[in-house]
Amino acid sequence: MIRIEKLHKRYGRLVAVDHIDLEVSAGEVFGFLGPNGAGKTTTMKIMVGLARPTSGRVLVAGHDVHRQPVAAKALIGYIPDRPFIYEKLTGREFLAFVAGLYGQEKDAAGEAHRLLELFQLAERSEELVETYSHGMRQRLVMAAAMLHRPRLLVVDEPMVGLDPRGAELVKSLFRSFAREQGGTVFLSTHTLEVAEQVCDRVAIINHGRLVARGSMAELRRLAGSGEAGGLQEMFLRLTEERPPAASLPPEST
């Protein structure tokens, strides 16, 4: 479903993404992990056509995102980490606008209503977005991303701002989207438990380079932390960000 070939992105002298190659199949939930500033968001922005690669390419269902953007974008639903939406539209109006952008003519109003119900926004769908909390905006953006029935969901930090109920809803939604509808989810997260619960495979990016990929069990083995090892320990080993032992606080007795 996704094929990333030698993707490279440079901002002046800063290399944000350094020649990465990756393939994700249909029906898979793929986690993209890495420390802050590792290049996750840049990679995802290139995948959805919001940024241009310096070199390399991204194919979505065989469509080059930068050569055939309209065909590729029609298949993608994007959920950014910061849900900026038109403040002066209501939730329902926002979905109607998005339906117009994606050329959704058939039953867009019915689908919008279903998604508003699903994301528990129906009651406040006639209120302006400016009155919504961060979590509500995040759920509205998710509803908008699913409105045109995409085949690929690209999700940047999906759990930010969501309450436990919202987070659980989103996790089950991603799983059913991949397993029951055959869609693909490509998500970045800092919450390692989310990656473990939801993702079939993960990749870890650090300083713009992929340092590991595979299932969580495979990554544990790669990190040498064993099956019982903590996720955080595994992550720190793979990204070599473990703080020096001398700086850790003494254990309390």
Binding site: G100, Y102, L128
Partner: protein, 564 residues
């Protein structure tokens, strides 16, 4: 006290760094900032020269010549104080209660006093820099005309600072009290509506009094009656009267009026102290109230019929594709933001005054052909002026939500053409209405009226395309206030290019129009310069084709490279 001052100074640090630090305009783009500074200086010099010329002319008027500049200064100070008061009050709502960084500051252990005074200083700078910038050249012109010594300029700066501090303090008091009682956002919006309506009425009143007659001695009586309406020098307790007395003492090299100076300084100090007392007591409760007031605008209180209409509109828009969806979205956002739709009131007043001007000019017995030609130039300037406010920001108004359009399967050409169409249609409607009405008022023959409408439509098409294209090439998605979008370098470039286009296009149209006029009067005769006619028509066609394509192409290219 010292500790409070230290905190106050620290609170101003982000603003100081933004103005002078390495990330400021000077630090990042020194050349561009220098060019804009030079343009600003040129503008100030222009105001000074114009004011000096005008004051000189006033002084030459027999009998009352000495009286006019004094009266004008009182009027100027009164208008300045009123503008500052309104501007400071509107600005105070934002700086004291609606600014994003307040959450951090209010939750930190910063005493309310220094925080309030830091915000008061910010309000003062925000609300007055433009008045200060455009006011000082006028006062310098007074100094030049009256051959004043350097002491006048020192007193002028002191008086202006006091006159700026006074409304800033009053504005902060009004904003604090209103926000304690009502929602900050609603109070600000309501105040803006009242101000715009008041401004429009005042504008129409001044225009109806025809101030161009000021230098016409025969109609002087009417103007003097008008100036008499503003009886500031007689109102003993007005700060503008004290300021005028001090300034005129400085201008005429007389001993300074101590009582007026003491009154102005002490009343400013007293008002600032009162503002400090009220502001620091109300800052936290009013800020809390401002948070509660954020969710007041609820369309669910709309009548069911309106909600049904909204859904019907969404449904129709979706079926008609991207352009209709964008139109419906843009209309909703426009009509729900008073900052935006209030401009329509100003636009209506502008249109009314525009037509009114031609009624006066027609009465002055100008030939219709002179007025007809002047009408095109003025119309071009009006269209360019409206476009810089409404068309140039069209793309930037997508704001931080730009990613939604960019992530959708929409070609940028499609998006830009939809934006062009949305803005071109109402602008053409306005242009055609103004052109036809002004031709009717002037008494232009039908054939030339049709020609005038065609010319104005071509100008509107060019300016509108330039606006959308350049707006896309120089987008400002992170600017929250729509009125600020055209104030950047892109907006200035658009103004210069659109004026250049209007003037060259109209210049090229002069000879063909002259030929048509000749034919209409004397019938078909051999052309004296057929080459000129061909060249003029060619220039017009090439210019129109270029401007309809090049800016949109450039806008698309630049927008493609823009990463949200």
């Amino acid at each position: 006290m010292i500790a409070d001052l230290k905190i106050w100074w620290l609170l101003l640090w982000p603003k100081r760094a933004g103005l002078l630090g390495p990330r400021s305009g000077w630090g990042r783009q020194p050349l561009r900032t220098l060019v804009f500074a030079l343009l600003g200086v040129l503008c100030a010099v222009g105001i000074e020269r114009l004011s000096a010329w005008f004051l000189g002319k006033c002084l030459e008027v027999e009998l009352v010549g000495q009286f006019i500049p004094r009266k004008l200064m009182s009027l100027l100070l009164l208008v300045l104080l009123a503008v500052l008061l309104v501007s400071a009050t509107i600005s105070a709502f934002s700086t004291l209660f609606l600014s994003d960084d307040l959450a951090l500051l209010v939750s930190s252990p910063v005493p309310a006093g220094p925080l309030f005074f830091a915000r008061l200083l910010e309000t003062m700078v925000h609300s007055s820099w433009m008045v200060f910038f455009f006011g000082i050249p006028v006062f310098i012109a007074y100094g030049e005309v009256y051959h004043s010594g350097p002491a006048f300029y020192g007193w002028m700066l002191l008086v202006l600072l006091l006159l700026i501090a006074l409304p800033a303090g009053a504005g902060c008091i009004v904003a604090s009290l209103l926000t304690r009682l009502f929602s900050a956002r609603r109070s600000r919006d309501l105040l803006m509506i009242l101000v715009v309506v008041g401004f429009v009425l005042l504008y129409l009143l001044i225009r109806a009094l025809r101030p161009e007659q000021l230098l016409d001695e025969e109609s002087f009586g009417g103007m003097m009656n008008f100036l008499e309406m503003f009886r500031t020098p007689d109102a003993t307790f007005m700060p503008t009267r004290w300021a005028a007395e001090i300034l005129f003492a400085g201008l005429l090299d007389r001993p300074l009026p101590g009582a007026e100076l003491a009154a102005l300084a002490s009343s400013t100090a007293a008002l600032l102290a009162l503002a400090g007392w009220i502001g620091s007591s109300l800052l936290l409760p009013a800020y809390s109230r401002a948070q509660e007031g954020r969710s007041r605008l609820r369309p669910d209180r709309q009548r069911p019929r309106r909600r049904w209409l909204g859904r019907w509109l969404d449904d129709r828009a979706r079926r008609r594709g991207l352009g209709a969806s964008l139109l419906v979205k843009d209309l909703r956002v426009f009509l729900r933001d008073p900052n935006q739709w209030l401009q329509l009131v100003l636009l209506a007043a502008l249109a009314a005054v525009y037509v009114l001007n031609f009624v006066y000019l027609k009465a002055a017995n100008f030939s219709w052909f002179v007025l007809y030609t002047a009408n095109h130039v003025l119309m071009g300037l009006v269209i360019a002026g409206i476009s810089v406010r409404f068309v140039f920001p069209a793309v930037s108004l997508e704001g931080r939500s730009w990613w939604i359009v960019r992530a959708a399967p929409v070609r940028l050409e499609q998006f830009l053409h939809a934006k062009l169409l949305i803005h071109l249609l109402p602008l053409q409607l306005l242009a055609v209405t103004l052109a036809a009405t002004s031709c009717l008022v002037i008494g232009v023959p039908l054939f030339f009226t049709v020609l005038s409408v065609a010319l104005v439509m071509a100008i509107t098409l060019g300016v509108c395309t330039l606006g959308v294209g350049l707006g896309a090439a120089r987008p400002r998605f992170r600017v929250d206030n729509p009125a600020k979008i055209p104030t950047g370098s892109g907006g200035i470039l658009f103004m210069l290019l659109s004026l250049g286009y209007v003037l060259t296009f109209l210049l090229a149209s002069v000879y063909p129009t002259f030929v048509l006029r000749r034919w209409s009067r004397f019938g078909h005769r051999p052309l004296p310069r057929p080459g000129w006619l061909a060249l003029s028509v060619l220039v017009m066609v090439v210019e129109l084709l270029l401007i309809s394509w090049l800016p949109m192409w450039l806008g698309r290219r630049r927008l493609e490279r823009h990463e949200p």
